[in-house]
Amino acid sequence: MNASLPGPLNDNPNLDRWVAFPSPGKVTILTGRVELGQGVLTAMAQIASDELDVAMERITVRSGDTEKAPNEGYTAGSQSIQFGGVALRQACAEVRALFLEQAGKVLGCKGNELSIRDGRFHRNGASTGQDYWTLSSAIDLTCRATGVAARKAVADLKSVGTSSRRLDLPGKVFGDSIFIHDIQLDGTIHARVVRQPNRGAAIASIDERAIRRAAKGPIEFVRNGDFLAIVGNDETAVDAATAAAVGHVVWHNVEAPTPTQQEASWLLQRPAVDRAFGAAPGDSQGRERFERTYTRGYLAHASISPSCGLALYRNGKLTVWTHCQGVYPLRAAVAKILELDPSLIIVHHVQGSGCYGHNGADDAAADAAIIALQRPGQPIRVRWRREEEFIYEPKTPAMIVKVRAILDEGGKPVDWTQEIWSPTHNLRPGAGGNLLGALALPNPPPEPPPNDVPEANGGGATRNAEPLYDIPAKRVLHHLVTESPVRTSALRGLGAMPNVFALECCIDELAERGGKDPVQYRLSITADPRARAVIEKVATMAKWNADATGGTGRGRGIAFARYKNRAAYSAVVVELFVDEEIRLHRVWCATDAGLVVNPDGVINQLEGGIIQSASWVLKEQVRFDNGIASYDWQTYPVLKFTEVPEIEIELINTKDEVPLGVGEVTAGPTAAAIGNAVSHALGTRIRDLPLTRERLTAALLKD
């Protein structure tokens, strides 16, 4: 009988998809999760080190590879450790059990009389001469996991729970060729795409002579329908030609987003698929109703490097190198647009810069694949231009979140409605989204049907739309807006940031309305002990003072969320100053992520989430002005070194709880804590993000 297997292991039950012993003293572990700068491969190695009883130094991690590694879909949603890590742990436990059994046969004893020390098998404390590598020829790891093998007890874990140093960091500080951008295959052809401005735009004319003149080196044109690329051996010439092509290729049917469409308010009157879930419609029965509306504009992922993809089509087989988050879904999507059998395509993951979600990575890989098919035998390297990344990467959608609360006589909410207007948060290729280059090919694929991440997977626009607080009736009204001026998809936390911003700002407004301290008010409507623990902890860390006077230009704010209402808990306090602009001073954060594999890695992710969210809240919005007007770091500024606050983080020790991802948990609480602190500092509230200087001025003039 098979016990139940962790999801990814159930999907990839053959143990050779997870563990291999390639040569004496060496262990290879395989994972479908990919390194995005979050340190996940180090954590996976720690998990395997413990479960197999081998030193970290023996372990090589192979990740994101359709040839060998398991298919785990996307590395997204803060799920790598919670699901992928647990699957790897179980796979290693199964492998360990098989080897112990085999060692027992060889040594004429029971497997449970043996122990393993750094890969070597011991009996009664003495070496048996057997190890994983002497035994491996007798064991067929293509067998299926059974789920019967027991994982180690948490108390017996040695590497898990320690801040093991990141395996990927040395290459990054020594300038090694570790990024996809650094791959140089023999005979590499550099390629840039002259992007179709929008679906349906058609090439009217190309001034090839002018473009060649600007190139100052040999270039060629590759064209398929309205997909146009400039290629050549000399990257400098290809770059110069592509820059010139912007002015020398004329397009028909160009549509450009307008300044009106830039604002979230534009979404209100658009066609939408309307959904509702949660409690039945509430009746206020004469009780007080409280209603507030919060908005956020479009954001860019704004990865520090533009996307890059490589492809080689040789002997009827296509190999693709990509920094995308899901190599298997990309393989399926590329197979479809190129009409190739997926078995003829291999996709390898190579590190790129941090993506924080669905950026241009998949599209750049598809660009390379499209060109490679027209140039068999030549390795094609596509690197997007900076403005190309800003203009064509999928944006995270603008959102409107309207909160309606019905209050009891004590001022506590008894009924909560969160109504959301948002375009989709998921146009990943694996969710039916189109690869950008395919839209320019003859016979472009149709628009995908309206879709967002289902609530079973955490929701897209509805993520964290229900407050975790003890409110008898909660419901969500979701308007999935089907008309969007730009392509939208997943960014760190999806709808969680705007939803938590809205509900946690509203909770502060309710506390203020009743003259209650925001910390005490939250505790008064929360019985969940893990929620209470992070709120109480962060208040202690920040020396929260319930009597701090507001409206002085110095402000403090608190906010809390449990990511997806089922993952990690985090509470954040922000202290800031407001004069002409907002200056963040200090941030405190308490987080409960269950069993922590690598505490420093977790803290690094939490810090990153706090800083990125602060950057979104204070500075970021994609501007539209007859096209995307945010196309470089001056028109889309992000938080700078002189603008980051000091950050203090504590992890709550709950190591007997399942491990929970942390990449996204701080985005919402940080945004709301900043919103609440600004309100405290000014004595007036701003409900629209980002909190720009113009909005500060307008808020102050309004009073």
């Binding site: 995005l36 500080v173 140089q184 520090i304 790129g352 810069s353 900076r386």
Partner: protein
């Protein structure tokens, strides 16, 4: 008609022949010399991924014509140190685990090196100021600031010995 350009990179004399004298130094480093540590981030001299030292001064090189560095001394991240002989800055970045995706780090290490060459005991604010010409998108800022402070202390202690 190709022209020859001579300069030094990380202490070694180099000579490259190029048809286009406007070829950016970054392309020469990465494509002609195979030094991939200096990264392409924007091609607009905005993000700092391509920061190198030119005669000791930190400069973005993604649009800097190779002709403008003839006869000059270039130092890239590969010139700071390697795994067997890390520069104190590189060691401090590892000790502080200062980085996430790491794409910005080569440029940041160069900016930090330029700062410490000029000012061996910078304040936290001075370090932040010096690094404002570099963008970090992952949010590793505080770790990076701590690492530079730490490296400065190590280098001062080394200089006193």
């Amino acid at each position: 008609m190709s022209r020859k350009f001579e300069f030094s990179v990380n202490g070694s004399a180099v000579s490259v022949s190029l048809d286009n004298e406007e070829t950016p130094l970054l392309d020469v480093l990465r494509n002609s010399l195979g030094l991939k540590g200096t990264r392409f981030g924007c091609g607009l001299e905005q993000c700092g991924c391509c920061m190198v030292l030119i005669d000791g001064a930190p400069e973005k090189c993604c649009t800097k014509p190779v002709s403008s560095v003839a006869g000059k001394k270039i130092v890239t991240v590969e010139g700071l140190g390697d795994a067997s002989h890390p520069h104190p800055l590189q060691q401090a970045f590892l000790d502080e685990q200062a980085g996430q995706c790491g794409y910005c780090l080569a440029g940041i290490l160069i900016s930090a090196k330029a700062l410490l060459d000029k000012n061996p005991k910078p304040s936290r604010a001075e370090i932040a100021q010096a690094l404002d010409s570099n963008i970090c998108r992952c949010g590793s800022h505080n770790r990076i600031l701590r690492a530079v402070e730490k490296a400065a202390a190590v280098m001062r202690a080394g200089a006193e010995r």
